[in-house]
């Protein structure tokens, strides 16, 4: 009962935080109190949050190390761009909201299919082998997209592989990537996507399937022996995560007038992994906050001039040490003790924050 209640509180706080952040941003946007530099980062932040939350599903909840998450994002991104460009040019569909939704849905579906295709053979592998195969997959996708040319000719799409002589309007131009993209992504769409991702991930985690996934993570053989279909549940987490990454990719792709495949190299996958680990493996709220913090951080470090990325690396290492070293954690625990005491006074009905295993 208590565990259930705690989950409810955790979920409501998570949703509350997102909605509050959205409302504050909207308020600042309407009063003009937000700097341009921050305004421009809102949509990418939403995308990276969804990426972090979805990778957390694989790394944290399902316990697999995936280094190819950016690959799914790139599938979603380029699919979204092609769908949106095609709809606009071939069918004169000018409504940006409709096109954005369509792009995100189709992007998610294709990324999900890719996830399933890769997942079927790959999920037999474990640990670092899974990591290296997902990394390999991400690199293959990047290499293929660099060779891909797509154009809209009348009402049909034309694809060229290593062949740039296509009739009609080019949507994708090989290593130039997607060109002349109409930027139709909006912050509201980003917010809605974050909420949808949260609903899916939190519901999945707290459902029967979610418990099965976590059981497989904690003790695969034990889970198997009580009749849990290991492959099915691992696939469920993997494909869901790929679909969310695809949707985030579509939103991301439609926020810039150009996009190149090199954007989704393995360092980008690793970046998302950094969000997840920094936020606390398995902790959805933490993933969100870490994604936000680490997206804003390099921008706030601009005053360091040429030492900017150096400062970023130092901050990253220090934060990792501070949040994972037992000594440092105990130290910060003491510092934050008054904060927790404050919470306790307000809610005296919750004595279980004190020590002891409250199960």
């Amino acid at each position: 009962m208590k565990a259930k209640k705690k989950k409810l509180i955790y979920n409501s706080v998570t949703f509350g935080l997102v909605i509050a952040a959205f409302l504050i941003c909207q308020l600042l946007l309407s009063t003009g109190g937000m700097s341009r530099s921050f305004r421009g980062q809102l949509i990418p932040i939403c995308c990276w949050i969804v990426m972090a939350v979805s990778l957390n599903l694989v790394v944290g909840i399902s316990g697999e190390l995936s280094l190819g998450h950016a690959g799914f994002m790139s599938i979603g991104a380029f699919t979204g761009i092609i769908v949106s460009g095609w709809m606009q040019r071939a069918f004169q569909m000018e409504d940006p909201v409709l096109r954005l939704v369509l792009a995100m849905v189709i992007g998610a579906v294709l990324a999900g299919i890719a996830g399933a295709l890769i997942g079927i053979p790959v999920l037999r592998l474990k640990g670092d082998y899974l990591a290296i195969v997902t990394l390999a997959f991400g690199e293959i996708i990047r290499n293929l997209i660099d060779c891909l040319y797509v154009s809209v000719d009348g009402q049909s799409l034309r694809f060229g592989f290593l062949n740039n002589k296509l009739p009609g309007d080019l949507l994708m131009n090989g290593p130039n990537g997607a060109v002349s993209v109409q930027t139709i992504a909006t912050f509201t769409a980003g917010f809605v996507l974050v909420i949808i991702a949260l609903i899916i991930v939190l519901n999945l985690t707290n459902s029967r399937s979610g418990r099965a996934i976590q059981a497989i993570r904690d003790a695969r053989i034990a889970a198997e022996s009580v009749g849990i279909n290991v492959t099915k549940y691992r696939m469920m987490a993997f494909v869901t995560s790929a679909m969310l990454a695809g949707a985030a990719g579509a939103l991301y792709g439609l926020n810039f007038s150009t996009l190149v495949a090199a954007k989704f190299r393995f360092d980008q996958s690793i970046n998302v992994l950094v969000f997840v680990v920094l936020g606390g493996i398995g902790n959805t709220m933490g993933s969100m906050i870490a994604a936000t913090a680490l997206t804003i951080l390099p921008e706030t470090l601009r005053d360091f001039g040429q030492y900017r990325m150096l400062a970023y690396a130092v901050v990253l290492i220090l934060v990792m040490l501070a949040t994972n070293n037992p000594l440092a954690r105990a130290f910060f625990g003491r510092i934050f003790a008054p904060v927790k005491a404050l919470f306790r006074r307000k809610k005296p009905a919750e004595p279980d924050l004190k020590g002891g295993d409250a199960k």
Partner: protein, 398 residues
């Protein structure tokens, strides 16, 4: 359970503190900038131009961004030291060769009150930024983003460098008209917009001019081994190898060819400039390399020599064409600003249309030649063919 809760609370609290600190730092940074902006135009007749430069200072493309940053800085320093009518506030924003970060840079520059942009250095970020700048009406002049996509459908975007198709066509014409070997191999980077862009037009033009392209091979950004590509060209009997690539991989190709005793005519484009200044590079390998470039650091004119001397003094390196293009970009902007009558207190959006009109009228003599611009933003200047002889550039025709 409780320990876990405790951990989560500590972690979330730490992260929130991090976000708060980050926000505080950024807001402090902004507050500090603002008085400077209003303070600047004190003297009556001195006009301060706020120029933002966007380019990669870190990341794998850092070498190009640092060159443009330094080149522009020298021009700004010279103008400020000369004490004329104009003062330049020149600030570089690091975009790490990424469209998302480049847009952040642009927004930050606008927050800082920049009036015009020199940049961005690399193509893909430039396309992203110029689209946004076209909407906002901000004038941009890129030193080195050479794709035609950069200027396409945007009236606010001008280039200092040649476009990729122009280079591809010019190279093919040069080879055909100057009695160079007609059995040609091409090695290009198929993950790079610049290289692929030149390659595509070169091959089309070569077909037209009856050049025989016998070998086409590619590499990617992280390729280390070029034996397959060079051997393919050798096996196909190519007498001339066209290298529409940057000098880093080009120098690797030259060394690989030397190992297998392959000695064709090497023909490069402006990205090849800089090959002689790689520290430790055996210059004799580049003997006889031909390249079509608007800039060579060995040029005899006073402007170039001054520029090269200052660059060497300040940065302890020989400038390449990226630096030269950025140097010219700042001078071109000042010339356009003078023509357009830009004043210190104008906003970016007020400057834009005036600068666009002025750009098409001015003629600038820079270290990369005499430049004028057409309405689509492309530059007109003449590339010169130079050949490397005894570790120095020499004009090919004279």
């Amino acid at each position: 359970m409780s320990k876990k809760t405790h951990n989560i609370i500590v972690r979330v609290a730490l992260l929130l503190v991090l976000v708060l600190v980050a926000c505080l730092i950024s807001s402090c940074g902004q507050k500090k900038e603002e008085p400077a902006a209003t303070e600047a135009p004190k003297a009556e007749d001195v006009i301060t131009l706020k120029i933002a430069h966007i380019g990669p200072l870190t990341g794998p493309a850092a070498v190009y961004g640092n060159a443009t940053s330094n080149g522009g800085q020298i021009a700004a320093d010279e103008i400020n030291a000369a004490g004329g009518k104009y003062r330049i506030e020149y600030k570089t924003y690091d975009d790490t060769h990424d469209a998302e970060i480049a847009l952040n840079c642009y927004n930050k520059a606008m927050d800082d009150g920049a009036q015009m942009i020199v940049g961005t250095t690399t193509t893909s970020p430039c396309i992203a930024v110029s689209a946004q700048a076209a909407k906002d009406r901000t004038f941009m002049l890129t030193p080195s983003a050479s794709s035609t996509e950069v200027t396409k459908d945007k009236d606010n975007m001008y280039q200092i460098c040649f476009t990729d198709p122009a280079q591809g066509t010019a190279s093919a014409e040069y080879i055909a008209q100057n009695g160079l070997p007609t059995k040609v191999a091409v090695i290009y980077n198929n993950a790079d917009a610049y290289s692929t862009g030149i390659y595509q037009t070169f091959v089309d033009k070569a077909k037209e001019l009856n050049l025989e392209v016998v070998s086409e091979t590619t590499f990617q950004d992280n390729t280390k081994d070029f034996t397959v590509q060079v051997n393919d060209a050798k096996a196909a009997g190519a007498e001339l190898v066209f290298l529409p690539i940057y000098y880093g991989p080009a120098s690797m190709i030259l060394q690989t060819a030397a190992q297998i005793d392959y000695k064709p005519v090497w023909f490069g484009v402006d990205g090849m400039d800089g090959i002689l200044d790689i520290e430790g590079f055996d210059k004799s390998l580049a003997e006889g390399v031909l390249l079509l470039t608007p800039f060579s650091a060995d040029a005899k004119d006073e402007k170039t020599q001054n520029f090269v001397a200052t660059y060497q003094k300040n940065y302890n390196a020989i400038p390449n064409q990226f630096a030269a293009d950025a140097y010219d970009a700042v001078y071109a902007l000042v010339a356009a600003a003078e023509k357009a009558g830009i004043t210190s207190d104008m906003k970016a959006a007020d400057c834009c249309d005036k600068l666009i009109a002025a750009m098409q009228e001015i003629k600038v003599e820079g270290v990369t030649g005499t430049m004028s611009w057409s309405a689509n933003g492309e530059v007109t200047k003449t590339p010169t063919a130079v050949v490397i002889k005894d570790g120095k550039y020499v004009g090919f025709n004279n």
